[in-house]
Point group: C2
Chain length 379, copies 2
Amino acid sequence: MTQIVASEFTRFGKREEDLVSLSAEACVDIVKKYGDAIDFIVVSNAYSGEYVDVSGLNNLVSTRLSLDSVPSIRVDNTSGSGGSAIVTAKALIESGEANNVLVLGTEKMTGGSTKRSSRIIASLLNDQERRAGLSLPSLAAFMTKAYLKEFNAEREAIAMVAVKNHKNGSMNPYAHFQKPVSLEDVMNSKVIADPLRIFEYCPVSDGAVATLLSSDSTAPSMSEKRVRILSSAISSSSSSVSSRNSLTSIDCVRDSSSLAFRKAGMTPEDMDIAEFHDMATILEIVETEDAGFFRKGEGWKALMSGETEIGGRIPVNTSGGLNSKGHPIGATGVAQAGEIFMQLTGDAGRRQVSGAEKAFAMNMSGFGNSASAIIYEVE
Amino acid sequence: MTQIVASEFTRFGKREEDLVSLSAEACVDIVKKYGDAIDFIVVSNAYSGEYVDVSGLNNLVSTRLSLDSVPSIRVDNTSGSGGSAIVTAKALIESGEANNVLVLGTEKMTGGSTKRSSRIIASLLNDQERRAGLSLPSLAAFMTKAYLKEFNAEREAIAMVAVKNHKNGSMNPYAHFQKPVSLEDVMNSKVIADPLRIFEYCPVSDGAVATLLSSDSTAPSMSEKRVRILSSAISSSSSSVSSRNSLTSIDCVRDSSSLAFRKAGMTPEDMDIAEFHDMATILEIVETEDAGFFRKGEGWKALMSGETEIGGRIPVNTSGGLNSKGHPIGATGVAQAGEIFMQLTGDAGRRQVSGAEKAFAMNMSGFGNSASAIIYEVE
């Protein structure tokens, strides 16, 4: 099996550094301590060419880190790249191909306009939907309308995701936004795609996170703080959103979650914390339901009753989520693992969930084109 | 261990189809026959965003193939993406994550100017060398000059790589160029980067190749024609070409090859055929030396004496190589596996090497930024 033995973050947000420098910043402490042991590098990055005109990023980063001869690859699955990179690193370790894999999640997205950024990301849509002018923010708005109607949910419940996650983010020194917002702030902020408002979408961020994954045989000699990957699963949905059966449920989230829980011999009730892919507020609610944490149509009630707050029954997105921490595309899935590593080893500072031992992470590609579910337990 | 049980090519060259259609074309026969068994898709592609403004290619392709729920990722390592994708698929299988992995190598590069294409690929160079105006073609020219001087080699020997590979390509129905060229044709063709001429560089091509990789436990039920992956290794060199020790030798080619041979318990002498990464003619000669097939400085003599021809002691690039078959970046490493599958199962038609049982493939990223070596044997 595979364990996380170290994790390091850069501050997320608008960063002046170039992509290679930002990437190296996340890795440098791990390389200083464990450099000789690293025998593979997996770089999670989706859009280095599109945003900053760089390719072969894995090779440029390994050279910058003076890990010239170490094999490396780039793994991409758009917004879900990080989860896919961890699944890949785990396979490299468990097949015996590598013992200690540095997994770097990284993306540089600021520097251009938000419009340009949205256009780059819309390149993952299928051709017809893209030509029809759909974008990921507008799909989230459609989902919100459908959800509110289908489950007679309160509009404020959706906005409360942003309130909760900004509160969590305010306690995360790596988060893009570190200021709480009120329900009024959210509901009075600019409409992006009706009915969703700007505070309900993740910002455009730069950021990088590194984690070191080790095999069971090498992990104990690496660190006393360790988190085990109990299971992982990737599943996909149709890339044609309009041809899906439901607008309020995401097949690949449901399928990957149930498979990961089955592989681990666990249920959502066994989890102490969970990170979900809240690119827009509505997605946190829908995903927590599809992953089996709440019954369909009841995620918004659980949120309103405080169950997903720090201190609640199952804290969700203690990191601040994509909503407040930011969503540097390739970094996000690795950042979920990093937050979970900090939480389960007791290093989450002011946002620490006391006694947290088991965790769940859901990282999604596109608008549910693909999803990875990963279950962790402190060693 | 892992076996190849099927392989399909599209014709390489200038193709009218879009990237998703071209990709699907390579997969359709395999999916028709084995679709229900495929439980993971690894897409080798480096530049979908840069060339054709598409991201999330793995999800778009799986949807097009009606394999909606099958997990998929994209693996990129620039020109070496294919070899890295095969190593990744092998790890997914040998770790138990998957049983039957569809590995698709695909790239669409035509449609813009050659200048635009060169600029896109130059984005893999390190910043200083890129700003100095270096490109991959010019690096190959520097290597040629250094090689000719250091080993007192004949200029014509380098050009003979193109003659041999065009001859092989003329017998490959999937190759971009299917016409033999004479030494005079090559030596009289346009100078691209002195002393190398246009026939000595791979063309800009579109193309896609699919292979199906299966575990030892499932492979026998899939096909009677099977090729086993005996070993694989990836290694890297500095991305800063000017800081390397030698211009006539590539560390990562040497290191990955020797590791792959050691893992397989074999030597280059055991191989019956080999595919090398001849982005430029000189590279075939340098790589065959670094991989241990010939002594340093003697690869050009082996070529001149016909040892690497079909019918010679160790036929190299029976497919036509990148030089004649074409080099759709993400497809190339998978195409090497596909050619080897055809050769070792006796399906290589007019270019068949009789009795070939063992094969070696070298797939390189950038200008030796990274390399994968894979050793195959017919089952």
